[in-house]
């Protein structure tokens, strides 16, 4: 069988692509397959992991200069940070704490922030929920104080106290 592209060299690479349920088969020689790959890399779906891996690597390049290379692995899933940078995917929830230092700058670069402020799980987030509520009340109390609305601020203070007692401290 000859290559579908150049029709000169023998086809040794067989590619099957399924796009929106449509199957496309192509038989290529190594040279044309290489070109095909280059075209594929323009596909945005490939670009995101690559882009991420690049961001990860940017981190490690900086760190390698400061720290000697550590081959730390996650104690839960056994994935190393190097493996994570290659795939752009973390192995488990523990990776987030195990590699927290390395992830922090990446998260800032991608999201512009490293702190979650959204939804808190209903059942498991009980104490987190209360702490967030206290934080919000504190901010409100500060606002009231600057506006010199001391009576209302005192009410909020009492509310914060009772919530804190509920948390056990």
């Amino acid at each position: 069988m000859y290559c579908d592209e150049c029709k000169q060299r023998p086809a040794t690479v067989h590619v099957t692509k399924i796009i929106n349920g449509q199957k496309h088969e192509s038989h290529l020689c190594p040279q044309c397959a290489q070109k095909d790959q280059e075209m594929v890399s323009f596909n945005p779906s490939f670009a995101i992991p690559n882009f991420l891996a690049a961001l990860f690597n940017l981190n490690s390049q900086i760190e390698e200069k400061i720290l000697p290379a550590q081959s730390a692995v996650c104690s839960k899933c056994g994935l190393s940070f190097e493996q994570i940078t290659q795939t752009g995917r973390l192995g488990c929830n523990e990776c987030y704490s195990e590699f927290a230092d390395k992830l922090e700058p990446l998260l800032r670069r991608v999201h512009g922030s490293g702190q979650h402020v959204g939804k808190v799980p209903l059942r498991r987030g009980g104490s987190i929920r209360q702490r967030k509520e206290i934080e919000q009340l504190r901010a409100l109390m500060q606002q009231l104080i600057t506006r010199e609305e001391f009576e209302q601020a005192a009410q909020i203070r009492d509310q914060i106290r009772s919530l804190e007692q509920g948390l056990g401290g």
Partner: protein, 350 residues
């Protein structure tokens, strides 16, 4: 209702052609990424663990109160390859989910407004799809399903990073919100790339009809948020809604300009599309989509009095390759599909 019936029911809730700004915003979608605490993420999951995750989710689904609606559960290897791609074309699962069925499952709400992919990139991908620009309602529905699952599943969550996901681009809220917009007038007046080109600066991404990596066809674009950490869900939705409304305004302005400056050309284009669609004997998917887009523009501008917007959304789905083969009950070559597609469109338009 079983999975078979879900597959056979072509009308999904998102196709209704109703909702806010439905003449431009076809549908909107919320996707929440969640993981179970006790297992590695799906990319590092063993086959046994994958089965355990599926079992846990299946058990959690059986505990769903009746008023939340009826849900259908299926492991993906019990669904034939063709049927899996029918689910992709219905936007109930992702192409990636359909391509790798091993150790994966899907849960679908019977009115097809919500689905859960199990063991895709994350253990749970909760999805809600509604017609028009209706992100707040879609979010509430998805969040309710999330709460209900969290009632019996231990969800991976950290105070600092929020919901923990396999890919750091989803961490925090795990929320990807998107709006599918139909922008024929912006494309015709060569303004689409200018308007859509601004979106990355606003923290939004633009994709084609089938999501990540797909091309824009039929003048349909998906606009979605990029940032998932450091913003509340409400902020993310408000930002996307506001920008989508701006896009709607620009599209409507462009439609007005077309009607005022080039009425004959637009009418000609719409009627030609109608003529081709109601007479063609062979039509490719791409051509059909382009002509259906013109047809829809004609409906929205009042040039055509029928068919209804619902037919537009339904035709896009049922003329897709997997649907055509599923409903004729046989595998077909591209040429045979072109014939079947043309026949189907003719029958819907007559």
């Amino acid at each position: 209702m079983g999975m078979e019936e879900i597959l056979r029911t072509t009308a999904s809730r998102w196709m209704e052609g109703t909702g806010n700004f439905s003449d431009v915003v076809i549908s909107c979608r919320i996707r929440l990424a969640r993981n179970l605490e006790g297992y590695p993420f799906p990319n590092a999951l063993s086959e046994t663990q994958a089965k355990q995750v599926i079992k846990e989710v299946e058990d959690a689904i059986t505990k769903v109160p009746k008023e939340m609606g009826a849900f259908q559960f299926a492991t993906l290897d019990d669904v034939s390859p063709l049927e899996r791609f029918v689910l992709v074309e219905k936007h109930l699962i992702s192409p990636q989910h359909a391509e790798n069925p091993i150790g994966r499952a899907v849960v679908i709400k019977e009115d097809q407004s919500a689905s859960i992919m199990v063991n895709e990139e994350d253990h749970l991908r909760i999805q809600c799809l509604l017609p028009g620009l209706n992100l707040e309602n879609a979010w509430q529905e998805a969040s309710q399903i999330d709460d209900m699952l969290e009632g019996s599943l231990d969800i991976a969550y950290g105070e600092k990073s929020g919901y923990l996901t396999a890919c750091p681009t989803n961490v925090g809220t795990g929320l990807r919100a998107s709006a599918m917009v139909h922008l024929p007038a912006l494309v015709l007046t060569n303004q689409a790339s200018r308007v859509l080109g601004l979106l990355p600066q606003l923290g939004l991404a633009v994709r084609g009809l089938y999501g990540e990596g797909s091309e824009a066809m039929g003048n349909l674009f998906q606009v979605s948020n990029q940032v998932t950490l450091g913003k509340t869900e409400e902020d993310i939705l408000a930002n996307l809604s506001a920008v989508t409304r701006q896009i709607v305004d620009k599209e409507k302005e462009a439609r007005q300009v077309l009607l005022e400056d080039a009425r004959e050309q637009v009418e000609d284009r719409v009627w030609r599309a109608y003529g081709l669609l109601s007479n063609a004997r062979l039509i490719s998917g791409q051509e059909a989509l382009a002509l259906l887009s013109d047809l829809r523009l004609g409906m929205d501008l009042g040039i055509l009095s029928h068919p209804s917007p619902e037919v537009f959304s339904e035709l896009i789905v049922i003329t897709s390759p997997a649907h055509l083969q599923f409903f004729t009950g046989r595998e077909m070559s591209a040429a045979a599909r072109d014939m079947e597609r043309a026949k189907l469109i003719r029958s819907r338009l007559s």
